[in-house]
């Protein structure tokens, strides 16, 4: 084999020296003379109608430059998914007539220091008529639940349906033929990314009318496009500069700080910094979606899984962010890397009055894997089979049709399991140790024959 230069070597991080000396420039390390700071006034309730926002006391507070409300936002719609053709746009940059989650941004106080901005923000008077919030995904789907979205349902609409789905083979026939039915319900709480660096953005108006924007986003070009759309400004007038991200994990892909910071800079003609507090990072950034997965499998005594039916609810929280897309990723992954001839999957992207959920490391997929693999162990137990064997028997092989209509070309599950067995010193029986992803044999082939 050709000698590799880097693979197999330990190579220092290119940013390592900066990190250990503290010379790496993080966005919060960037300051400009004469800079202003933002403190955000956020919704104290999970759901309500905004009757009025009185900013007069905050505006009169010494050291306050301006207060920004929805009226100041040229195109008051947060639009990340419109760039990939998913709509309707549902999230305002600043709340106008209603609030949909506790912590939703309402108005931004811009002042000479963070200390001043914070105190002035505490003086904004909100008059909000509290409405019954929807906080549970199952309740959200019930007819009696208040309909919280403007379009009159609590779900994202996929092709005219309230869910996205897979229909493959005939699950009812599969269940009828099965020796055992194994069911499981799997639930996960929302997870916060908790980067040690919170969201930070610095925007500086330039004499030529352009904006220089420093942001710790993980998605620079998404952010540039979205900010331009929100500001109604051609993107060539916004110089968006990323930087070292002090921990992202998917939590810094939503365009949450840049539009407001730019508007503040344009409105005041001064550089502006918006640095989230730890509380904002925890309670107002996106999280991984909470999920509830109900899984029913029809299983033969010889280990074959002959049918799987899944109903899964993804808690998007109050707004889309990346959740409608995450639900679709979830849909195709909840079958797992196994060949099952009869599959029925319904995934609902459900809205509740909770902090919006969005991207986080394999979102949609990780949750599916958790449910699928616990389910595999349950199946193994139900029919008295070794958990290694049940996985290898059902593992997908190259050439197998996936339930979402794609022929498998790059299966590696068998080899991965075999390697894992070696690493932990588990000896597989020869039949299993000799399996290969290119095999025609195994249960999958038998299933292909009967399907």
């Amino acid at each position: 084999m050709k000698q590799l230069g880097i693979v197999g070597q330990s190579v220092h991080r290119s940013d390592g020296l900066g990190h250990v000396t503290g010379r790496t420039t993080f966005i919060d390390d960037i300051s400009y003379p004469h800079m202003l700071y933002i403190s955000m006034v956020r919704s104290p309730v999970a759901r309500g109608k905004i009757r009025s926002i009185d900013t007069s006391k905050a505006e009169a507070f010494p050291g306050v430059a301006t207060v920004i409300t929805a009226k100041d936002v040229p195109n008051n719609l947060y639009t990340i998914l419109c760039l990939i053709g998913i709509g309707p746009n549902d999230e305002p940059v600043l709340a106008e007539d209603e609030v949909m989650y506790e912590g939703e941004p309402i108005c931004a106080v811009v002042a000479e220091s963070e200390e001043i901005a914070r105190e002035a923000a505490s003086l904004v008077k909100l008059d909000i008529e509290e409405l019954e919030p929807v906080l549970d995904v199952e309740y959200a789907l019930r007819p009696e639940a208040p309909k919280i979205k403007k379009w009159g349902t609590n779900t994202f609409t996929y092709d005219g349906k309230d869910h996205c789905q897979i229909r493959f083979g005939d699950v009812e026939r599969g269940f009828a033929e099965a020796d055992e039915i194994v069911t499981g319900t799997y639930q996960l709480s929302p997870i916060e990314h908790a980067p040690i660096e919170t969201h930070v953005c610095v925007a500086k108006p330039e004499p030529d009318g352009r904006l220089t924007v420093h942001t710790n986003t993980q998605a620079l070009y998404f952010t540039l496009d979205n900010t331009a759309i929100i500001l109604k400004m051609p993107s060539n007038r916004i110089r968006m500069i990323g930087g070292t991200v002090g921990g992202g994990f998917g939590g810094k892909v939503d365009v949450l700080t840049e539009p407001i910071t730019c508007i503040a800079a344009l409105k005041t003609g001064r550089p502006v910094k918006w640095r989230w507090t730890r509380e904002e990072e925890t309670r107002c950034s996106s999280t991984r979606a909470a999920v509830k997965i109900e899984m029913t499998d029809g299983v033969m005594r010889d280990g074959r899984i002959v049918a799987r039916k899944v109903r899964s609810l993804q808690d998007a929280g109050a707004y889309h962010r990346h959740s409608p897309y995450g639900a679709m990723k979830h849909m195709v992954n909840v079958v797992g890397p196994y060949t099952i001839p009869n599959v029925w999957v319904d995934v609902y992207c459900v809205y509740t009055n909770r902090q919006p959920s969005s991207a986080m490391r394999g979102f949609g997929v990780t949750e599916a894997s958790f449910a699928v693999e616990v389910q595999m162990d349950r199946i193994a137990k139900a029919i008295g089979m070794d958990p290694w064997e049940i996985r290898l028997r059902n593992a997908y092989r190259n050439g197998d049709m996936r339930p979402f209509g794609k022929i498998t070309e790059d299966a590696t599950l068998i080899e991965t399991i075999q390697a894992a067995a070696k690493l932990v010193g588990h000896e597989l029986p020869p039949e299993l140790a000799q399996m290969h992803s290119n095999d025609e044999g195994g249960y999958a082939a038998a299933q292909r024959a009967t399907a």
Binding site: S39, P62, G63, S113, E115, I116, E119, A121, S122, T277
Partner: protein, 282 residues
């Protein structure tokens, strides 16, 4: 208006003058760990700040078996410079190492639940708190100081010292958290037991933390112990009795309900520790 002044008085007399002069306008701190985090978090907007850090109340003296501890003594110093059971343990487990260099024993008496670890240890040790105002000082047993669920300080007084006797019995400190270090308690028990030659409890003091708005004594649990041998059934009775009358706080780490379930657990563990050790005097 944001803060106008930061006072760093060099004596308690100077501090008391400032307190009289500015009254409610002045926010007092010693270590500042709670006051500064409230300011940073946008929950407190003081006009004036006064820190007692340099007010000459940071002495630590052992005299006739009693410790006299200035209100500005930090948790780090308590952990390394005193050898009082319970208090040393509480101090060593408070927050992380850097926080311990800042957190003071005086400030701890005013910490909101579930904080207040030092207060819990002090209560079990039957400590007294010294409160000073311009007219002079008064000394109050800690149990009375916290009797109404909050530190009973008059507006013109400052906490200047704590007096702590060395306990004569056996002690146990059990603090349950969601991780092993640098975390607020879920439930805490500090126990002092005296036993006679037959192993019967002759006196018991049990103080609980994170069980109500301030550190509190578990009087019913204490009563269940006195006159009894420290066996399994006595321990169980005391553990169950400890939860009576508790109103634990809810926060991000634990619900009130969960804390309520954990109170008997920490008390049981503390008493079992004592029971497992060789009985006193034998």
């Amino acid at each position: 208006m944001t803060a106008e002044a930061f006072h760093l008085p060099r004596s308690i007399a100077e501090a008391l003058d400032l307190l009289r002069e500015h009254g409610d306008d002045v926010v007092v701190m010693t270590g500042g760990t709670l006051v500064m985090s409230a300011i940073n978090g946008g929950q407190l907007f003081p006009r004036r700040l006064m820190s007692l850090k340099r007010a000459g109340i940071d002495q630590l003296r052992a005299e006739n078996g009693r410790f006299e501890i200035g209100a500005a003594v930090t948790a780090s110093r308590l952990a390394s410079e005193t050898d009082l059971p319970l208090l040393t343990q509480a101090a060593a487990g408070l927050g992380g190492p850097a926080l311990r260099n800042q957190a003071t024993i005086g400030g701890n008496l005013f910490a909101h639940a579930p904080y207040g670890d030092l207060g819990v240890a002090l209560m079990a040790l039957d400590a007294e708190v010294e409160l000073t105002r311009k007219e002079g000082a008064r000394t109050v047993p800690l149990a009375d100081f916290f009797a109404n669920g909050a530190a009973a300080r008059r507006p013109d007084e400052l906490v200047t010292a704590l007096r702590v006797p060395r306990p004569s019995g056996e002690t146990a400190w059990v603090r349950l958290g969601r991780r092993q270090a640098a975390t607020a308690p879920v439930a805490t028990a500090a126990v002092v037991i005296e036993r006679d030659a037959d192993g019967r409890c002759t006196a018991a003091r049990i103080a609980l933390g994170a069980a109500g708005p301030a550190p509190m004594r578990a009087r019913e649990a204490e009563a269940a112990l006195v006159g009894q041998p420290l066996d399994e059934s006595t321990i169980e009775a005391a553990a169950q009795a400890a939860a009576i009358g508790c109103e634990p706080p809810t926060d991000a780490l634990a619900s009130s309900w969960y804390r309520q379930q954990m109170i008997p657990v920490v008390v049981r563990r503390a008493l079992s520790q004592i029971a497992a050790a060789a009985p006193a005097g034998r």
